[in-house]
Subunit: 402 residues, 4 copies
């Protein structure tokens, strides 16, 4: 490890995602063999006091208050973007042009147009050996990575049904405070981009199929909320009082849509080629805390996942009939993705491990001179689905091709 | 019990539903106090040998091979209709006009027009003291009846989300045989009317709200199936061979739709009044056997039910935060709906108990001279939702008002 | 069915078990093909008004108030004993000697001595074609019957661990009323004989092994309870008031013991032959309603069952490693024990089905002239385990051979 | 953070526990505010190459190959002992005498005598401001810490039942290799000390009661195992071949025992004061990976925990009857123990967080000059229970006072 060349990271933003990414950069080389040795070189944020305090706490070696200055530094190899979506395009494109690798949080951008420009920049940079990745970290949950592997191995047969839910409840209280995530100018959309984007990416990635069309409905339940002092919070329980000044919620609280998938080309004869899907993203499902769920039904087997039991993958194999049943696979065996580098069987992982695995995959790809996955192009496809959902919802749920 | 006046039943049809109804008529008076004493007087079916064998097995006192003849009999007080949907309107209307009470299986009819004629006949008959009920038997599952009670008591607050799934897998095998349930001329629709109708009724009944509009997608995965000798089977596992002659499947295999609800009038201020809903009905969800699921999220609490654990209702009460959690209520206490007449706490009920409870409610209402619930008018409203789903699916998922 | 010779039943007792048995006698011929046609001929109880009311409600054709008179009747072929344990021996032996088949509720008796006399009588009667069975009805739960089949098929390999819990909570309230089940002179023991006996029988039957020794601890938490008017209740929630007169609880409230099993003779070499077991029976496990649980770990696979989810058997097959996991088998397939005679896949059964299946197995054996299972000899073996448990508990948990 | 005085750690041992502890020392200050700043100063192991490689990987600043040398160093404030149990007493006592704080892995020692000497040394050191703690890390699982809090708040009432299982299966394969954990001279005992000790500590700590007596049974299923090259492995799946040389397993494979608890002094009148308990520890429960389970039934409420769902605590409150049910509390709210320093609601923690919390509690206590918990005296009490279990098992399960 000590002989590996350093990979000097500069991170922009230090709220929830910043803490998760810092932990990942620090932890990845302690459990995995990496071709490059990540250094927490610089942390960037607009507020000087804030960024200094965060850098001390999170373990970064220096600070900047202007991301443009960060990009000018010679001692930075990679820019990690953990800011709201409205800033992604500008920072990412500039960073790539400055020859820095980029890790960009999801959703890639707040519009398809921005995402397209970012993808162009990413493809141009890749030809110069400068790489980029979008942070769909749920792909790095071992159970979902195992799900993808099982689909790729053909164990599910043709896929007929996808049902994806991402259910949270932290906005259910109508006095939960306003945050930047509820301001369309910053976040682009609400539950759709914040959590629905994860479901879309996971569904497409696990099945190996793309969503080809959608019919959607968006709903905002609470139209204004009390303004808290700090709008960059984590979305906790804070009730700031009924008499606080209120700000307008300008995004969707819930997004639900039906979808069709591209098919796997395996079919023929009397059976349809593509799957149908149902998606729901909401932060008002009282009692559901982080229920990022995905179920896939094939002609031979089914898979089901719920992040509230993130170390488990449920698998039903019809060949075991009549004694078939959903098998609760505890995804903690050394043979399972990422798991062998951690603890003995049965000792489960937590939320932040996905970010550590993301760093592992990113650094491994950069070290090998290969394009990491998901690329900006992959994330652009998700952005197009988000746009189709918004388009359909705006036109009385009319079917919208992606 | 022995002093109660008899209620002489004539039942039409004796397949799956006929067996369930026979058990219910026989069992209800043994566990519940009824104002009338049900008699299994006559069983009717077209095939003379078949109906005689069934009557002997199921315990009916006589047989008929023509339902019109059954209606002419003076010793019949109630007609129980367990035949495919295309026959419901004619039999039910004639029975009501003949002065017989009617219990009619769901869906009420195969079209809104038929259902409207049936509802008119039912309302006219009710004025003469002749009553009718549609067999949405899931309402009689104690856990769902408890769910409705909790909503009525205001324990959920305003309702924001409804998610209803009815997932089965008995058609997933593409060589599962053709049945009347896959023939649109008999069944009206596929998964939509067969199982989706249960979800629609349950969602509306539990929430006390009506669905006001939908956007839908229907899909048929397997377009033809081997013809078995008997098309009136229960939908088992029989694979009749790849070289059997095949018939065309003319119904949907899966129905998925989004919906809006009428609201409860409790809202005001900054909060929206109605709930949004997601529905999915399929018989291709490999591994899901009879997953009739309903989840309702309110502003104060949430409820979740899955018929695969039919004796359990999950309840989340936000007032218990931060130690709140979905409470797994084992619905077997004497205070729970229907339960006190059965076994001690913890000794769960099975599928057929819903039918027994249905008889209890029906006979109790008839004995009291009151309209049983759900009425044909209630069932007509479900029929209108089914029609709106089909209408939306036929027009690229365009929003369709109910 | 109508051509089958009648089997005329006389039942003694009509509380909880009487209602369950009546339902079973009535229902079995409607769903199963039986060689004899059960008739609910006579119901016997000491209280004339009570037995007449019960007979009307439960559907029995005549009544008796003296069980000796019942045995004298020519029109009775089988005596079904549903009374407290202290009466079993006398009634059963007299019935067998009178040439009546006998179904006797569990535990077989209140002492090994009584059980031995009953077994002798049963064996003598069997030689004359008069048969007897003890009512360990949980054997007839499809999921447990499937468990036994899987062990017999060798799918578990050698068995190493048995853990059996029977957890209820209906006595947890210290003001729950006194019942005959808490009076040692009537019930013989408390949780041990009432529910622990089920666990012992199920563990031995599923594994095919006998318990060879135990070390036990018995505990009584509540030493006296309010006397209710009727001591033959079902053990409900009734709190009869803190100032009611109180009676002494003379039985155990909880029984816990470790055990060794006889082994299956399959072992050799370096592996031990027998399993070790842990048993717990209590009616004070607040929140557990009827958690009759059994888990068996073998060298190749494991099985787990909980009656609170009675339609499910969990099965872990090590050969599926690293993607092994407890498979949640929904035991509702037509290939599963008893299930094919009921409803389609996924439509679960309830508590009383075990009693119906018990009648099916009993009548089938009598019709074939064969010894039904479990015989009185099988039940005697359970009685010996109960006695060993009591013996060990009385001697500071010293190991007690069975 | 940067202003906190350093706490310079020297760790002995670097296998499974060493990796977990290293991560904890590194991570704790990044998420929690600590009064001292932990430094990973020196790692100690007998093999020079091995310890150097481990130090590089795990991030330790220097190495030693003799623990005595480590104790002599002035730049070490705390010794963290992660070696097999037979070495604990010597290292810990010497470290305390050298003025170093001590964190010692569990079980505290391999005998009561050793544990007593360690406790004496600890108490003497504490008077000099030198503190020690035993590493019962499961206490730091948020769900178990919440369980303890609920008991302390009186929400359970008097405790009647404790059932504790620690089920693993990594030794079920009889060709799994020999490890030091199976060698009594190193580990002291098998499943009993390795995992049963966790159950004993957790049961006593959560209930606030001590075990006063036990009746036990120990069993060794596999008496010899193939010798692998490295005996300090993590207990993985490695099958080293049937023809490898074999070593004798000298410890128990399974430990099961009944127990009585000291009571909480809250009782009176007709109710017994103490709880009864059942314990089982095994590494042969095929399919159970790390099922460290604890259930406690009180007079008012019950609690249940399973480490396989480590972020969940189940809670049953009888006051909610008849709509009571085990509430599945997702222990990820900011109000829950330790949780507020991590991620938003619903984003679960993993196995290693317990070790991080252990460091937090240890460093916080040292910084405040207070005795950390569990002390060596607490761990000695566990050791006495382990000894009583072994004593009872050696005497035909005769009851053994602790």
């Amino acid at each position: 490890m000590t002989t590996a060349k350093p990979l000097r990271v500069g991170m922009v933003g230090y709220a929830f995602m910043g803490a998760a990414h810092s932990h990942a950069w620090r932890t990845a080389p302690r459990f995995f063999d990496l071709p490059l040795d990540p250094q927490l070189t610089a942390l960037c944020g607009r507020n000087d006091d804030g960024v200094r305090a965060a850098a001390g706490k999170l373990g970064w070696g220096s600070v900047e208050t202007d991301w443009r200055r960060l990009l000018e530094r010679d001692d930075i190899d990679l820019i990690d973007i953990c800011t709201p979506g409205n800033t992604h395009a500008e920072i990412a494109i500039a960073a790539l042009e400055a020859g820095k690798h980029v890790l960009c949080e999801k959703p890639l951008a707040n519009s398809v147009a921005e995402a397209e420009r970012m993808t162009e920049a990413a493809q141009a940079a890749a030809e110069r050996g400068v790489f980029s990745m979008c942070g769909f970290s749920y792909r790095r949950t071992p159970a979902l990575a195992l799900a993808k592997r099982m689909v790729e191995e053909g164990r599910l047969g043709n896929i007929r049904h996808v049902r994806a839910q991402y259910l949270q409840d932290w906005l259910s209280d109508e006095n939960a405070p306003m945050t930047w995530r509820l301001d369309k100018s910053k976040s682009g959309s609400g539950s759709l981009g914040d959590i629905g984007a994860h479901s879309i990416d996971a569904a497409q990635w696990v099945t190996g199929q793309q969503i080809t069309g959608v019919s959607a409905l968006l709903e905002t339940f609470v139209h204004e909320r009390p303004l808290a002092g700090d709008l960059v919070g984590l979305g906790g329980h804070g009730d700031v009082g009924a008499d606080a000044p209120r700000g307008a919620v300008t995004v969707d609280d819930a997004a639900i849509f039906t979808a069709r998938f591209s098919g796997d080309g395996l079919d023929g004869g009397t059976t349809s080629a593509g799957a149908v899907g149902v998606f729901e993203a909401t932060r008002f499902a009282l009692g559901r805390k982080n229920a990022m769920r995905l179920e896939v039904n094939g002609t031979k087997a089914s898979l089901a996942f719920d992040f509230e039991e993130m170390n488990v993958l449920s698998f039903y194999d019809a060949a075991e009939s009549p004694d078939a049943g959903f098998r609760r696979i505890f995804v903690t065996e050394p043979e399972h993705p990422y798991v062998g580098n951690w603890w003995p069987t049965g000792h489960g992982l937590g939320y932040e491990h996905g970010f550590t695995h993301q760093v592992v995959d990113l650094v491994t790809a950069i070290g090998a001179g290969e394009q990491p996955s998901p690329s900006f192009a992959d994330a652009l496809q998700v952005q197009k689905v988000l746009a189709a959902v918004e388009g359909s919802a705006a036109e009385s749920s009319r079917w919208q091709e992606v």
